[in-house]
Each structure stands twice: as structure tokens, then as C-alpha cells.
Symmetry: C2
Subunit: 344 residues, 2 copies
């Protein structure tokens, strides 16, 4: 039976459920407006490890372990781990999968990875290929700075359009089949994004590079499902930041979509407060992942939110492509999430 | 309905089909024993582009286009592209997806990426989430050398255990639903690998680092399905190379598995001839991908092979983890492929 709806969307008729979720973030994130909502705060950027990379990996591992324990399960109950991160060769995810000993498919969608993993995870759960699986991702300010920008020791001044890579991780456990019936938050649709590029070449302006992809995926989801902003309590984007969010609103309006701005919740705009001086806001795989685990999924479970479209956006550049003069392609993958009333 | 079989395997009861496939390789690969079987040979390592990276990306794009045209389809018929490569931030796949304009999920499993994409693609096709999708990957000797090892200009001597990264790309079009019924080669099972690490720290001995994962995934597939070597005409590994293949045989025998050596076909051992002086053989995402498209899938379609277990293996290291003294984790994902007689 085909579950396809339109060009880019699939329905998940069995409604895979969210069994549990966990978030871990750094000190700076704990001082932001949502600081009290994260499950755990790491002590410092080394997180008890010998390198920033090992610190990031330990945070991801711990988020998965915490998520599994919040679900009252064992690691050995998890049939599949769908994870990725920003580091070259997604070493955080690969090495975490080694310690966790869960069968592992590695994903890369830059900062869109958490919604890519929820999309694929939702389909695999709906299709009967996994009863219990975990979607997870992470990022770390210090590893991202040295890999993508400049060594921290240089103290390079950041441009006004720059975003601050979130030190954080989020893990979401999904259930298919019978186990999904008890879940208060469920997945109903997934929309796979196309890679778009409007020619932005400034690697310090990721929001602008990703906004076209966000616009395209929202428009595709609406066209494929016949839904619009009216059908959602929130449309949650990953880490467009302040500039990217403004651009998204402009692009949607150009397409003739009426945008109720209060319904556009960008995790990158929300995670830090203006006094934290992060310029255009937060970014990184861990931004959207930690924010949905700390705020969006709890609100959905509680029924304070009824239906949400969640799309994290990724900039698919590398330092090599930037040095070779290439512009920055962006991608956004969406999942629709709903509150399910007890017994419904 | 659960499609799970044992701890790591799923069945694909609707038998997604292989609609078409295409391979493109470099000059050196064209001079190997399978040289006459590849669809297209690129003129030189620049492939008409300005950088090795752009050359690699163009090869991947061309392989997808060629695969689509061999199926008598248009790019716009393809609902999903599942692709990845070895370069940081999988830029070959991301930028190819930009040009091809196909909705895209990025994957990373190092050299296991082609069997990861066939596994996920097979599940999505079987589950009704895609009727027509393409799984693709690529690698390029010159991009891999400068990213993972040393600049080519240095002329560094290679160690005896080293493998030669294949310049090549392979693309496989899968069909679900009604379109699958006409296919002579079909997917029947997928086994997701665990990340294993026996402590190899020599980044010039990837075969040894990947062999334990290959052994584990073969054993898991056999345990989950009740099958063994007797049930397969070939067990095709990705790029263990000569040393890794020998080690795999040893590890399987330690587990009590009887190994008929003539049934173990390693793409890395086969793609080059000994006189080509590639030391332990070929490697890279493009090795297994181009070899299955050039040799294994045609043999399955023709019925010269009846049933094959195909597992590409990946080493999940990065230069950073190596410099930080970490050992090399490996992973292997398997798909079982069968010939289907006309009308069956």
C-alpha cells in the first residue's frame, strides 16, 4: 500500500509514538530562557573528557542512555540507532554507537539531522521494521568552531550574521506497533526536503542559506497534505536564527502563504536570550534536538500543543567547498507531530 | 505487522526490485579485470571539472542520471535519493542532490554507505514510502588521499597494508509496489550492523579494522534468518582487501562458521589485478558500489547468480580521531538479493 502523499510527503498511518526523550546541554545554554527545562547540564566544555570531540561524543552517549532509562528500558531493547552530527565522518555518532552497541545507521543532514532521523525513524517504525528505535544528534561549540571556522585560541571576532553553535544533544525514542499505543505524542507525516541553493556564499550567514530550503519544505508539506498554518499550533524550525527566520517569512509571503508570525518558533532564535550576545542566535545539530526534547515534545505530550510541524534545516557546505568558491546548499526535512489524547 | 527477524534483520516481504543500475569509474579501474563491465570511464581524474572534489561530484551526478535513463525514466520520476560519500560533510552527495533536484536524505557509513542506502531504500520501498528511489555513492582517489592521508604532490610511499581508493560511482534504482514486479533482481532482507572495534589503530590497515564488523554482520544475518553459506551463491563484501578478507575468514572460522572460500567475493580484492600494484586492494565508497553495478547485479538479473548476501563495510574513523589516538571502529550493513524468474 502506497503511503505517499504528493511529491515529497508520506503519511504514517499507524502513528509511531514518542516513547521518551532526553536533552543535555552546556553551561551557556543552561543560562538561556529554556535553561530549566533541559534534563542535564554538563559541568564544563570538557565534560570530563580529554578533548572537545570526546566531550561531544560523551554528551550524545549520555543523552541516549538517559532517554532509554526515562523510558524504563534497557539499551539492549533498542533495535536501531539513527544518528549523526556535524563533525567530519560523524565521529560523535559513530563512536557513540560503538559504546552503546545498538545497530546503527549513520545519517548526515548537517543541522537538519534530527528531523531527518525522525523522518526515517518514523517510516521504519510505521513500516514494521523497528518497534523501538532512538533518533539522536549533538553538536558542541568548541568542536564546531575549530572544524568549521577558526581555532578558539585565535579569539577571532564574529560577524553580526554569525550564529552560535549550541553545545547540546537530544535523543528521542520512537515506538512502532503495539508499543506506540501508549504514547501521548505521535508522528503522522514526513516530508523529505530538496537541496536548494540561492547563491549565498557567506559561511557566516547560514540562516540566509537555509531559509529557502525551509520555505520550500513548508510549502511542499502544505501542498502535499492540503494543510496550512491554520492546522498547526506551531511550525518549529531548527536554527534559522533571527536573520534566517525573517527571510523565511519574506520567502513564504512571496509564495502567497499567509504567515502568522507568532506560530513560527525557531529553536535558534529561542535557545539564547538577546543579552547572551550570540548575534543571530543558536545553531548546530544539538540546537533543534535539545529544544524539541526540552520544550516542544513535553508540550505536545501535555496537550498544550496539539499539532506541530517540525523541520530542522541544514547547510550542506564544507570548508573545502567554501574555499573552492561554492555557494551554500540548504536542506530541510519535516515531520508532523500530534498530541494523542489518552484512549484515542 | 512486524517485519523483524531476530536482533538485527528485517524481511522485505513485498520484494522491492532493482529497476536499473549504472557505474562510472576512472582509468585505473578500467584497466582492472572488470574494466569492460563498467558503463562509463572518465577521461582523467579531473573529469572535466576544476577540482578533484567537483570531479567526484560530477561522476556521482552522471551515475544517477545514467541509471535513471537506463530505466527509461526521468529524474522527476525519482521520489527519493539516498546517498553519501567519504568527503567531509558528504559534499559529493549534497551538491549532486542540488543539481539533480531529487528529495534527498544524506547517509554516512563510510565505505558501507552503498549497502546502508540499499538497506534503508529497501525498507522504504517495501513499506510503501517510495515507489521509485535511487541509492548512490562515490569515491575518488585524489580527494580521499588529500583528505585522509597526505597531499598527492608529496609522493608519500604507501604501506604494504594500504588500499587504493577507487575512483568510481554506482547508482541503483529501486522500485516498490507494482513497479517492482517486473524486476529480475529483488531485495529480500536487510541486516543493520553494529559498530565494532577490536583496537586497530593503524589508519593504513582498514581491512583489519573492518573485518570484525563484516564477521559480526554475516553471523547476525545467518542467526536471524537461519541461513548459512549453503543458501548463497556468493557473500559479497565491500572493500576488505586481501588482508581484511583473510582476517574475515579467520574470524568466521573462530565462530565455528564453515567458510567455502570460493563463495567470498570481496570487491576490493577483485577490482584491481595484482599487477596494478594497489597493495591490499581497492577501497572507498565507490568500490563496492561500482562493482555491484558492473558485475553482481547483472549476474543476478541474468540468473547466473541466484542469491547473494551483499555487505559493504565502513571504517568510521576520521583524521581527528586517529590523531587523538583512538582506534578504528568498523560497521557493515547487509542486504540479501535474489534473482526472480520471469513470471515468478
Amino acid at each position: 500500500m502506497s503511503k505517499r502523499m504528493g511529491a515529497q510527503t508520506v503519511s504514517l498511518p499507524s502513528r509511531p509514538g514518542v516513547l521518551a526523550f532526553a536533552s543535555i546541554v552546556g553551561q551557556k545554554e543552561s543560562e538561556g530562557p529554556y535553561g530549566g527545562k533541559f534534563d542535564r547540564i554538563i559541568e564544563d566544555e570538557m565534560n570530563g573528557q580529554k578533548s572537545f570531540e570526546a566531550a561531544e561524543r560523551a554528551m550524545l552517549e549520555d543523552a541516549v542512555r538517559l532517554c532509554v532509562s526515562k523510558a524504563g528500558r534497557q539499551l539492549s531493547d533498542v533495535q536501531l540507532l539513527l544518528a549523526g552530527d556535524l563533525l567530519n565522518q560523524i565521529i560523535s555518532a559513530g563512536f557513540a554507537a560503538r559504546s552503546l552497541a545498538i545497530p546503527f545507521y549513520g545519517l548526515y543532514g548537517a543541522c537538519s539531522t534530527i528531523s531527518e532521523s525522525l523522518s526515517i525513524g518514523g517510516m521504519l517504525a510505521d513500516g514494521g521494521f523497528a518497534d523501538v528505535l532512538v533518533c539522536a544528534t549533538c553538536s558542541h561549540f568548541c568542536t564546531a568552531e575549530r572544524q568549521y571556522r577558526t581555532p578558539l585560541e585565535l579569539g577571532t571576532q564574529r560577524t553580526p550574521t554569525a550564529q552560535w553553535t549550541v553545545t547540546g544533544s537530544g535523543a528521542v525514542m520512537l515506538a512502532g506497533g503495539a508499543a506506540a499505543k501508549s504514547c501521548a505524542a505521535v508522528l503522522t507525516h514526513a516530508t523529505c526536503g530538496k537541496v536548494l541553493d540561492l547563491g549565498i556564499t557567506d559561511a557566516n550567514n547560514m540562516g540566509a542559506a537555509m531559509a529557502p530550503a525551509a520555505c520550500d519544505t513548508i510549502a511542499a508539506h502544505f501542498a502535499d497534505t492540503g494543510r496550512g498554518f491554520d492546522d498547526f499550533d506551531l511550525v518549529v524550525t531548527g536554527d534559522l536564527g533571527h536573520l534566517g527566520r525573517d527571510l523565511l517569512i519574506e520567502l513564504l509571503r512571496e509564495k502567497g502563504v499567509k504567515v502568522p508570525e507568532e506560530k513560527l518558533f525557531d529553536c535558534g532564535c529561542e535557545i539564547f536570550s538577546p543579552r547572551q550576545d550570540t548575534h543571530s542566535g543558536g545553531s548546530g545539530c544539538g540546537c533543534a534536538a535539545s529544544m524539541i526534547c526540552a520544550h516542544i515534545l513535553p508540550e505536545l505530550e501535555a496537550g498544550h500543543l496539539n499539532r506541530v510541524l517540525f523541520l530542522a534545516t541544514g547547510a550542506l557546505l564544507s570548508p573545502t567547498t567554501t574555499m573552492q568558491g561554492e555557494s551554500i546548499p540548504g536542506v530541510a526535512h519535516a515531520v508532523a507531530l500530534e498530541h494523542r489524547k489518552a484512549g484515542a
